[in-house]
Symmetry: C2
Subunit: 140 residues, 2 copies
């Protein structure tokens, strides 16, 4: 189940998502969907792209991350004011957030359960349930 033919996978992923497989989107998709679960920030992904010799603007990285999120390839995680993370793990799960390192770490769905979810106010639906466990260093 290793990621064979990553180019073809990225291409298909985009086509199936209704997004034009442009050079930039293909390159970013290959970086993002390499088979591992990642929590990326825009600036960081941009850096990785440049390091790989891919010429892409930061604006396009932002555009692409949002488009991928809209079509359900990514999920946005909000942990801190002024910081957006994009998560390649779109399955139901939650997060530890370490405020010291800025690192996000998955909590598998089976390790945290919510009992008795309240009803939303009239005329609204619950679109997303975000659980963030904020971590701090354990110092006596």
């Amino acid at each position: 189940m290793a990621a064979t033919r990553p180019y073809a996978n990225a291409y298909d992923l985009l086509r199936e998502s209704g997004l034009r497989p442009t050079r930039q989107r293909l390159a970013l998709a290959k970086l993002l969907f390499d088979g591992t679960d990642r929590h990326v920030r825009a600036e960081q992904l941009h850096g990785e792209a440049l390091a790989d010799g891919i010429r892409v603007s930061l604006a396009t990285v932002y555009n692409t991350l949002h488009q991928f999120t809209e079509v359900g390839l990514l999920r946005e995680v909000i942990v801190e004011s002024g910081r957006a993370y994009f998560d390649t793990n779109i399955s139901d799960h939650h997060h530890f957030f370490c405020e010291n390192s800025g690192e996000l770490r998955d909590i598998p769905a089976d390790q945290l359960a919510i009992a008795r979810l309240p009803d939303p106010p009239a005329g609204k639906t619950v679109k997303r349930v975000d659980v963030i466990l904020h971590l701090a260093d354990l110092e006596d």
Copy 2:
């Protein structure tokens, strides 16, 4: 149990919290701790202060909100990138967040329970558990 003598209460609150009861802090404390649970943004509180004829800078509002949070009089709630809310309800509870209106609404602790909280990574403690239910309009 109505809020009698709001000035004295604000004064005592600050003294007990180890904060100098300055004119600005007293005024902001009176606006914040009026007995109702509030979810305020800095800019908004600044507007309210100015509307009340209280001369205070936005920088001081930010400083004060953070100081109040540090001493436990407030709690910061993060719901969206680049948006911090300060909550006067410091008891254990969670939130609905309506992405359309930007409104935060309390979910009392007894209406939502978390079962099986995972262990934090070694050397860390869970400092805070944030549960945000993101709401969207219910349109067929």
